[in-house]
Subunit: 159 residues, 2 copies
Amino acid sequence: MALSSFPVPPEQRFFEDYQAGRVYEFGTVWVSEAEIIEFASRYDPQYFHLDPAKARASEFGGIIASGFHTASIVMRLYVDHYLPRSASLGSPGVEDLRWPHPVRPGDRVRIRITILEARPSRSKPDRGIVRTKVEATNQTDQLVLSMTAVNIVRRRPGV
Amino acid sequence: MALSSFPVPPEQRFFEDYQAGRVYEFGTVWVSEAEIIEFASRYDPQYFHLDPAKARASEFGGIIASGFHTASIVMRLYVDHYLPRSASLGSPGVEDLRWPHPVRPGDRVRIRITILEARPSRSKPDRGIVRTKVEATNQTDQLVLSMTAVNIVRRRPGV
């Protein structure tokens, strides 16, 4: 499917700019071993996220990023390039978060966005709900994360 | 339902120690404004995670933690108290990640664990799959995160 581009930058985006069927790609971002270890030591201190020697001797074959670190790296690309800057009203959650392949030190991660649905809120007329398929891949096109994100987005005033 | 406790510490846990129906509670952990802002500036730089003044003037009423920060805080409790230390073989993903209430500066977060299913792997006889309902609450018992986590866990050798 052909890639889209937004007609306006994140600062000027509102609900009306998110249309079902549109596909976008953003990135890459480079992931260092130091960042993987730093995140793991704070939030997910399992040896295969933290200890290169032990991880190398295990079936992981080397350290891999925590799944929530991978999700956070993806979130940064999603915020910088996709979400509206001031019209974003948060998220109630995420469906089907998957990590088919791990992120490893030195990987370059990019994201592919497919808008699944964009509908006005039934209860609040000033906003809409956007459902987005997010797929993140590494430099050899292995899928490192997929999820369906739900975002609440303010409608353009006066439209 | 009555709370359980594990008969052995994380270092000695294997698949056989995870039994469907068991319920555990762990925590609390205290979340500071500085930590919320630090995480957001790296991974989710939306103003309501980052800028106390702007967030106060918004419908959020003050800064709130990034959803993936909340998930990472929960992961730390999950790793420290629940997962086996050396028998953990990672996770293919998470279902139905929800953030019903935000985490705010000064909150104390704890987790409630319910083991939904623990079954031997069909393809690899040395491991099993554990499905776990995770619910995190704050100091006033508001639900700040729920998810169903899937973990691969090595079976006890020689059993």
